[in-house]
Each structure stands twice: as C-alpha cells, then as structure tokens.
C-alpha cells in the first residue's frame, strides 16, 4: 500500500428520486462543492448532483492542481483569496486528507513588460489581502536553486513575483471530500446519468430530462465544464464561451527536492513537483477551440524545450504521461457565476484554466446564491450580464495562464 491511497472516504450511492429542490448538473469539484456547502451551510440537502461519467472525470481530474490568488484585478484577488482560505481549512473541516501543501508560487519575468506585470501583480495582491512580493533574481535562486537565471542566455530572469500562498492539493481528493461530505448529509450523487434536455414551463426551467428519466427541480445549476454552451443552450441561455484544449504532462517519480511552483508567463509553462515526486508541467492553452481530450505532440515538444531552457536539470527526466483538459474561456478570461436571466437556471462556468483553484469559493458562493436567492457580493462582478453592461473583468496579466 502506498501512502497516498484513499483510506477514509466512504461514498454512499442512492437511487435517483423524481424530484429535488436543487439539481446540479456536473459532478466535478464545482458541482460537488456547491452541494456540500448547500448541505453544510444552509441545511439544504434535497439536492442531486448528476454526473454523466464518474465524479471528477472532467477537468477536476485533469488539471495541474495549483491553488493561488495572485490575479491582476481586485475582484479576482478577493474571490480567489477566499478560495485559498477555504482550501487551507478544508482538511480540518472535512477530516479528509486533500494533500494540501503550501509551496509558494514564483512568476518569473524575462523582459521589461514582464517586470511591469509582476510588480503590478504584487501591488494589487497586497492591497486585497493576498501576500505577493516582488523579488530579485537572487531571491528567486534562493527559493529555486535549480533555476538557470541566465535562461540559457535567451530568457534571463530579471525579477519575479512571489505569491506566498501558492499551493497544491490532490485534485481527486478535493472532489471526494466534497462528494462524501455532501452524501453524508443526504445529498444524492448519481454517476453515469446524462442530461439530455431541460424540463420547462414557458421560459422557466423546472427540471432536467436525463438518461434515467425526467427529474424536476426548483433550481437547476450548471456546473458543467467543456460542453457548457450546449447545456446552457437547452435552457435558452447563450454563453459567450469558447472551449480550448490545455495540455499538461508529468515525469516519473523522483526524490522530493523541488520546493516551489515555478511559472514563466513569457515561456508559457509552469512546473511543480507532486507529493509523489512527479515533475508536473503545464503548457499554454491551445489557440484552436476544441472539445477534444486528444493529446498533441507539438506542445509537449515546445514545452519541454522551454522548460529545459529555464530548468536544465529537467533534461534527463523521463516523461510518464501527458493529458489534455478542456478550458472554457469567456471573452474577458474570467469565470461567469450566477443568474442567467432564465428563471430556475443558474450557472458557474467559464472556468478557463482556473477551475480547480476556484472550486471552494465558487461552491460556497453559489450555494449562498441558491439558498438566499440573492447574488453574494463576492461574485456579483462575475455575473453573466457584465458583458452587456460594459463591466467586463479585464485582467490582461492573467489571460491564458495556469
């Protein structure tokens, strides 16, 4: 038995009922977290989570497990800092080991524009309660001795921002902790049930049509990743979202000796070492929209090349596996949370490359929205109607990154 195996969790599966107060479509981190917070914070347990595959089978189980709040605009810093805080206490709250580890996140800059971005990041983070410092190359070297500060002569490290609360956690365990916590309190989670349509009363959504028959609900929440535009379409909501593949890969297992999370926005890659000793690397998003989970060679090739440029020790590490997630990108690269304009249908979507880090705060806030019928202040800026109201969440420094 290895030390990382699941020991405590007990999942309880029940028969689907014909009617619930709340039906959540999508049994990934976001859907299960919302169910968990509905049950634990608001005592709402007549809830079903419908998952077409197995829980955590979408992007919840395909991401690079990074938790951070070092965004470039106040609204995002505040929101993700809430997530950082919830993640920090999740193990204590659920008594389940999510392998949470604070590592510190270094964003290195290789040119003047990069320096400007990282300085600005540190400043706005500090103003909104997230600890990020602007640091010198020498400080980078101290935090990450393996780095080649000359960047092979091509991409010298001129400075960096250091986000103290940059962390990782095991993605599956986050999904299961929320699933189990919700199930224990009476929430039903159903695997291998697909939503095929919406039950409607006029424009109002009154439930879902599924492969296991119709299920009515007072509120239907979409927590779907990947094909969310199709689902929203069934409800009569048009979402400004395009889906892009994002690739990542891990090496074999090596002795633990790479401490931080290191990212180079200019070289479009980031790297950390997992608790099991794998070096985990993520690449840029694929500019070509697609729902495909197929994996390409080109990004593996160029990401490897770039990674070696900054971290030469990676050269002789063997790659174990590569995979692809699908990122739902909104026009302003920020998530969309809340009411949709269609009664009975709400969404948490547009999670781009930030879905994992947003899980706790999104779940908590969406649960509050469902329970109170009002949009909580923390997520009000992320409402769908912001595009029509000319209140987009412009965050140039965070576009397309991990």
């Amino acid at each position: 038995m290895n030390e990382f195996q699941e020991r405590k969790i007990n999942l309880t599966w029940r028969e689907p009922k014909r009617s619930y107060d709340v039906v959540i479509v999508g049994g990934g981190g976001h859907g299960l977290a919302a169910a968990y917070y509905l049950a634990t914070r608001h005592g709402i347990t007549n809830v079903a989570v419908l998952e077409r595959n197995y829980i955590g089978s979408g992007n919840s189980g395909r991401n690079t497990t990074i938790i951070r709040a070092n965004y470039g605009i106040p609204e995002s810093v505040k929101f993700y800092q809430r997530s950082v805080d919830l993640y920090q206490s999740l193990e204590a709250e659920t008594d389940r080991w999510i392998m949470h580890k604070q590592k510190g996140l270094i964003n290195v800059a290789h040119n003047e524009a990069g320096l400007r971005t990282e300085r600005a990041r540190a400043a706005v983070n500090a103003a909104f309660g997230s600890k990020t410092d602007f640091i010198t190359p020498a400080e980078v070297k101290k935090l990450c001795p393996q780095i080649d500060l000359s960047g092979g002569g091509e991409y010298p490290v001129l400075g960096a921002s250091y986000h103290h609360s940059g962390s990782t956690a095991r993605h599956d365990r986050v999904v299961w902790a929320y699933a189990e916590g919700a199930m224990q309190r009476g929430v039903d989670v159903h695997q291998r049930i697909s939503v095929t349509g919406m039950l409607k009363d006029g424009d109002k959504v009154t439930g879902v049509q599924t492969t296991a028959g119709p299920i009515s609900a007072k509120v239907v929440m979409s927590a779907v990743g990947g094909q969310v535009t199709q689902l929203a379409d069934m409800a009569g909501v048009r979402l400004p979202i395009r889906s892009h593949p994002l690739q990542a890969f891990v090496t074999n297992h090596y002795s633990l000796s790479f401490e931080p999370i290191l990212a180079s926005p200019a070289l479009l890659f980031y790297v950390s070492q997992t608790a099991r000793g794998e070096m985990l690397m993520g690449a840029e998003i694929d500019r070509q929209p697609s729902y495909s989970y197929g994996t390409g060679h080109h990004l593996l090739q160029t990401t490897s090349y770039r990674a070696i440029t900054l971290l030469p020790f990676l050269r002789d590490l063997r790659i174990l596996r590569q995979w692809t997630g699908v990122c739902d990108m909104s026009p302003d690269y920020s998530p969309i949370m809340g009411f949709t304009g269609v009664e009975g249908f709400i969404i948490t979507s547009g999670w781009g490359t930030w879905g994992f880090k947003g899980i706790p705060a999104s779940g908590e806030q969406m649960a509050e929205l469902i329970a109170t019928g009002k949009t909580p202040e923390l997520i009000a800026p992320f409402a769908l109607d912001r595009f029509a109201r000319d209140r987009t969440m412009a965050d140039r420094g965070s576009a397309g990154t991990h």
Binding site: I9, N10, T117, A120, A123, S257, D316, D332
Partner: protein, 753 residues
C-alpha cells in the same frame, strides 16, 4: 567488456541487454518482481547513464555503461545536469502506412500495404525502434539510437505489437526469481543459469522444449498461491488442477496466466486511423481474481487495497485507479490492468446491484482505462528534439543596435533596443538636439481599390473623407464591441489608395483584421502588408529638419504631411508627425537599406549632437506628452470614453466599426478613466496602487521622472468616487495630484515648429 553496476564492474557479452548481463551475474536490476524481458513490465527499471526509469531489458549493454539500482527507500534523485537543449536530433519522414512491430502479423500487414502500392515505413523494437506515441494528424513518434523519428502517415498506422504475458499476483510476487515463459526462454538462450525451475501455468500454453538448458523440476497446471523466500525465491506453493496444494523448492518460477494485447498505442489513438492486427487485436485473457499479493508494483498497490476502495464505494475502473494510484506508474497499467478488470468483474457479479444503483449502471467487465502518451518514456531532452520555439523578429537595424551596445529586449513581439547605455543623454538629445530611433516595427499596410475610401470610412471612427492627399491623421482603432484595439495613422496617397500604420504590438493582427472586414463587407480593395518589408527611422528633435536637409530633404514638410524623398540616397517615404513632442520625421524605406540610412544620419548629425534613443526614452518622451500606449495603458475594456479620447470619434458619421456598441456603453454610468497624475520624485513603479481615503481606486499604467519638468508624470486608471474623479490621491504611499494631459508643451508648439 564491462558495464558498471552500482560501482562494480559486471561483464557482458556482445548483444547482451543490460538485464541479461545482470542476470548472468546473478543480479536483479532492482528489488525484484517478475521479469518479462520484453519491455512490458516495470521490474527491470534502473538508472542508466544518469537517466532513471530505463528498461534494462530493452537497453543494449555498452562498455562502461553506468547502471544504478533505485534507492531502496526513495525514488531516484533528481539529476543536477546544467546542460540545456535537445539531447538528440529529430527526423521527419512521410509515408502512406506505418507498421509498428515486425512479427508475423506486422510482416503480413506491411507486405499487403506494399502490394497495394503504398509506401510503408516499419518500426520494430527488436532493432531499437521504440514507438513513443501516436498523435493527431497521424504522426508516429519513435525513439531510435540515431535520434527521434517523427513519421507522418497519410493513410493509416498498423499496430502489430503482439501481446504481453500476464504476470502473477500472489503473496511474494515481489521476490527475485519469477519470470514469464518468454523471459525464461530468452534468458536460457543467452546462457543465464536459472537453477531449479518450476513451471506453473493456467492452461496448456507453455512449451519450453526449445530451451534444453533449463532444469525444469516440475511443470504444473494450476495457480501459484504463494512465492516463498526473503529477497530471492526459495519455493512456490501451488494449487494444482486437482485442487491439491503443494510446496516445491526452486530457484526460478515460470508462471503463465495468458496474454493481454499490447494495445496502448491503439487505445490512445481514438478517432485516428490506427488499426491493431494479430495478437495486439486479441481479446485480453482475464486472470483469476486477485485475493492477495502485489497488483501494481509501480505504485505499490496490493489486492487488499483494491478490496478496501471497492468497499469505500469506488467501483469504476477510473475511480479505483485514482483512489489507489494503481496503473499510474511507468508500465502504464500493462501488468495490473488484467488483474483489476478481473477483480472488478468478480465483485460486480457478486454485488447486490439492486441495493447499489451505482454498481447497477456499471458494465460487467469494464474496459481498460484510456491510454495516454507516452508508452515508452522519453526524456524532456529527447522530446524537445526538433522543437522550434517562437522566433522573435529583428529589424534591419538589429545588428546596428547590438554593435552600438544597446540593451535589447523583446517588446511588442520584436527585438528592440531598450537603451544604449545612457538613457538620460538619449532623452536630452531628443529634447534639445536631434536623435534617431528605430521604429521599423510599426505596422504598415497599403489599401488600394475603388472601395478604399468606403472601406476605411466604415472601419475607422474618424472622417476619412476629410483627409487630403498627402496628409495623415491619427486614428483610434476599435473592435466591434467598441473597445480600443490599437491606434495608428491613415495616410492618403490618392483617391483610391491609402497607407495605414499600426502599433508594433498590433501589426501582427492588423492585416487579418483588415482582410476579414473587407471580405465580410464585400469591399473591392487590395491589401498589402509592408510591415516587414519597410524599415522606419524616426528622426526627432529641434534639429531634425536641419539634419534631414543635410541628408537630401529639399522641401519643408508641414505637420502631418507625407511624401517621397531621397534621403542619404535611400528612397524614403517621409512622414512628418510627432510622438516624442518634438519635430519628427519618420523615414520609411526598403529594409535592406536601413543600416545605410542609419549610419549616414549618425555621421551627418555628429556635430548636431545626434544620439540614437531606445524604447525606454521613447516611452518617457511620449508620457510627457500624455500619449497612450495601447496595451500598456489600455486594457481589454478600454472605450474611447474611458481613456479620455472621445475627440478621436466622429459620432455624427453614419456608421463605423464599434459605433453601436459605443452608443450603448455611453449610456452606462462611467466607472473609471485613464488620467494623468504628477508628484515629486522618485517615480513610483508602473502598476503601483492608487489610493483615495484609504480605498483602492486604481493603478498606475505608466510612470516616469520628467527631466524637463522636474517632477514625476504618470498615467493611471482612476475609479470615480461618488460620481467624480478624486483629484488628490496616494500613490506608492505618497501624495499625488490628478492633472490634465499633456504634461509638456500643452499647445504642441514644439512638434509643429
């Protein structure tokens, strides 16, 4: 000939794999476990020449090769090499059909394809061609001793990789001395002494008569209940076909449990034209349900672990994998998946599915989980072979800048000079004398045709029809949502021809933008992008006109006038304008003559105090003038109203791109604006927070100390507080004042002089 194993020399014979050399010496590459000698299992992995996780059975021994076993209590250490770059080269090959595996079925497939007139490339791991993965657009990536192969197949890929032998799961299966029948035959043929051999098989499949050197003391049909020994096998306990259990002392156990197809390459290539043939296409045998023993030695997962997570509610193959990490190691599940499937099928059949709706919706025998590249692990140095990262373009003056000692930086997608060692001197040269700067990176596009005017009128928010031939106008460029996308000039060459300029950062997108709208609106225009064909030098400063007269400028140019002239014997398109705030001429010229033009100007201007200026100085000069840099001062949501440039719009025009959106957003309450600030030195950093009465109200986008004004000037985003813009704020912890722009030469007298 020796290889060096854990610092000790070990002899080998020509043609030996590292594994064979080790076995010949009575050694095991690692702790133990069943050996397949066929590249399927993880039990012969070791560190070879500094690369960990090398399959020693697939690696030819070479003199002096350094082989290290993994640490017993840890994973291999991270290497410390400091060399960069790909370790091997890559070749691209093209053919109709790739056949992987040249056993019988591979040969048949290759022959059939050849007979059908197809070009065929065959790959065989027997000759050191290891296939790593099959990727979209049908590219097969293989590792060979001569480097990486990227093979592009036009028709199909045939996978003829055969089948792997299923390895035993029973207590003690981690010991040394357990082999598959093929491994036994292979090792025997290589002269490896295996001692007393017991063969245990599930059927009648094993025939080792071709290996007469094997000392087979027992050959039984049945199932191994236990492998006994400390590190090395001493005995096997077998449940024979009659249901009797017997214990036999031995040195080697040969165990056969059937075959599982080597189909990872097929399973990772869903949707691609990839076909398995022969044993690679066979049904997988299911071994008995594992009750005890190691199921996955890569991740250290036992049969008991599978049972525990099943009881916890993890019933699906993928979830069991994730809950135990079974199958996530170097062998990609080849060893464990048959046992997992057997385990899950047995438990599913035994479960009361009416009591558990989750199990009821499962298939009785679950398919193996999705395979992911890479099947043969390769290093980052190997996968990087043939990689070409993004190339950053260089202007025709790149070598000139480097010769002058410029600090070069990637800015706006180009290599550009940041400064030449003395930014302050560069600054004063512009303000007081004359200076030249490389602006070759500006986008330059010609639009010609009967619809040229109509097209630009619809595209741009300015009144294009009021621009006279030979005149230029500054324009904001908007997207259809009314946000500022870029800025530049419209220069009228004739009634049917215009030259447009764009910023360096915007130029890469500009041509497609123009073409998309021209096509969408069905405009009869021709579009030619000259961005990379024309160099451009900005001659700026109070003495700029004087310098250009020396260089051949015969007629004076008015502000925003343009025309053709021969400057320093270089045919130039001359644009009088100003970004620095001083008299400025942009000289657009053939890019092959940039260096000639530059050097002549430097020579002719020597007594005028000429110096080249870099981007750092240019950004400082334009900031004194309050000019916005799109992309630095603006963001995705910058409307003309928000950046205070509504003067650049002609809302009385019938239509222009973004006009409906602007009409709509103008009705919303203004929330923030880009405005100017000033304060005493030193200059805050760009990105500094702007605070008002303890609240965050925005941030600085551009900041510099102005030598000519003796104070700091800045642009920044400022939120409206109770409907108004605060005029006193704190920046970087010090008081600053909001002021109107420009900061310097408000009337623009110097630029128009």
């Amino acid at each position: 000939m020796n290889i060096i194993v854990n610092t000790m020399p070990v002899a080998f014979e020509a043609g030996d794999s590292v594994l064979v050399a080790l076995q010949r010496a009575g050694l095991h590459p690692n702790r133990g476990g069943c050996l397949c000698a066929a590249g399927d299992c993880p039990h012969c992995l070791a560190t070879v020449n500094g690369v960990a996780y090398v399959r020693t059975c697939q690696t030819l021994a070479q003199p002096g090769m350094i082989v290290e076993s993994f640490p017993t209590d840890d994973y291999p250490h991270l290497p410390t090499n400091t060399q960069r770059g790909p370790t091997v080269s890559a070749r691209n090959l093209h053919c109709d059909v790739v056949v992987i595996g040249m056993g019988e079925s591979g040969q048949v497939a290759a022959a059939a394809a050849t007979a059908a007139g197809k070009s065929v490339i065959t790959l065989d791991d027997k000759v050191g061609q290891e296939v790593v993965g099959i990727y979209p657009e049908l590219m097969v990536v293989a590792r060979t001793s001569a480097g990486m192969l990227h093979i592009h197949a036009h028709d199909e890929v045939v996978v003829a990789t055969g089948a792997a032998e299923i390895q035993p799961v029973a207590p003690g299966n981690h010991l040394r001395g357990i082999v598959t029948p093929r491994a036994a035959a292979h090792l025997a043929a290589k002269g490896v002494a295996l001692g007393r051999v017991v063969v245990v098989e599930s059927g009648d499949a094993v025939d080792l008569s071709a290996s007469p050197t094997l000392n087979i003391i027992a050959h039984l049909k049945g199932q191994v209940l236990q492998f006994e020994g400390l590190d090395t096998l001493q005995a096997v306990v077998v449940l024979d076909e009659n249901g009797h259990s017997q214990r036999i002392e031995c040195d080697t156990a040969v165990v056969w449990l059937g075959l599982t197809p080597r189909d990872l390459l097929v399973r990772m290539a869903a949707g691609l034209k990839v076909r398995a043939v022969g044993d690679a296409a066979r049904e997988a045998d299911l071994p008995p349900c594992p009750d005890a023993g190691m199921v996955c030695s890569c991740s250290n997962v036992s049969a008991a672990d599978l049972q525990r997570v099943w009881d916890q509610g993890f019933h699906e193959m993928e979830l069991v994998k994730r809950a135990t990490l079974v199958g996530t190691g170097p062998c990609q599940g080849v060893v464990c998946v048959p046992h997992m499937r057997s385990f899950l099928a047995t438990r599913t059949a035994a479960a009361d599915s009416s009591a558990n709706p989750d199990i009821a919706r499962l298939s009785k025998v679950q398919a193996p989980f999705t395979a992911r590249p890479v099947v043969r692990q390769l290093t980052l140095g190997e996968v990087a072979a043939g990689a070409h990262h993004h190339a950053t373009p260089r202007t025709g003056l790149d070598a000139e800048h480097r010769r002058l000692g410029a600090v070069m930086d990637r800015i706006g997608g180009w290599w550009r000079p940041w400064h030449y060692g003395n930014p302050l001197a560069e600054y004063w040269a512009v303000r007081e004398a004359v200076s030249i700067g490389d602006v070759s990176t500006l986008g330059k596009i010609i639009v010609s045709g009967p619809d040229a005017l109509a097209f630009l009128e619809r595209l741009y928010p300015t009144k294009v029809s009021s621009i006279a031939v030979g005149r230029s106008r500054y324009v904001l460029i908007l997207d259809e949502r009314g946000y500022v996308m870029d800025d530049g000039l419209i220069c009228k060459d004739s009634d049917t021809r215009y030259t447009l300029t764009f910023t360096s950062g915007g130029s890469s997108h500009a041509e497609m933008w123009l073409r998309d709208w021209a096509e969408g609106w069905n405009m009869d225009v021709r579009i030619l992008n000259q961005t990379m064909s024309l160099g451009a030098i900005n001659v700026t400063g109070p003495l700029a006109t004087q310098l250009l007269q020396r260089a051949g400028l015969t007629q004076p140019y008015k502000f925003m006038q343009h025309g053709h002239a021969s400057i320093a014997d270089v045919p130039c398109r001359v644009y009088r304008l100003s970004f620095t705030g001083e008299v400025s001429y942009e000289l657009h010229h053939p890019v092959d003559q940039s260096a000639k033009l530059w050097r002549t100007l430097m020579t002719l201007g020597a007594d005028l105090g000429i110096r080249p200026h870099g981007l750092q100085t240019l950004l400082q000069l334009r900031l004194e003038k309050g000019h916005v840099i799109v992309g630095q001062d603006t963001d995705f949501d910058s409307t003309p109203r928000r950046i205070g440039m509504e003067w650049a719009l002609r809302m009385d025009k019938a239509d222009f791109l973004g006009k409906p959106a602007i009409e709509r957003t103008n009705k919303t309450v203004l929330d923030k604006q880009l405005v100017g600030f000033e304060m005493p030195a030193p200059a805050p950093f760009e990105g500094a927070n702007i605070m008002h009465e303890g609240e965050y109200v925005g941030y600085v986008t551009s900041s510099t100390y102005s030598p000519v004004l003796g104070k700091v000037v800045m642009l920044g985003w400022l939120k409206l507080v109770n409907g108004t813009l605060p005029s006193e704020v704190m920046i970087d912890g010090r008081p600053a004042r909001r002021v109107d722009v420009p900061f310097y030469d408000k009337e623009g007298a110097r630029a128009k002089a």
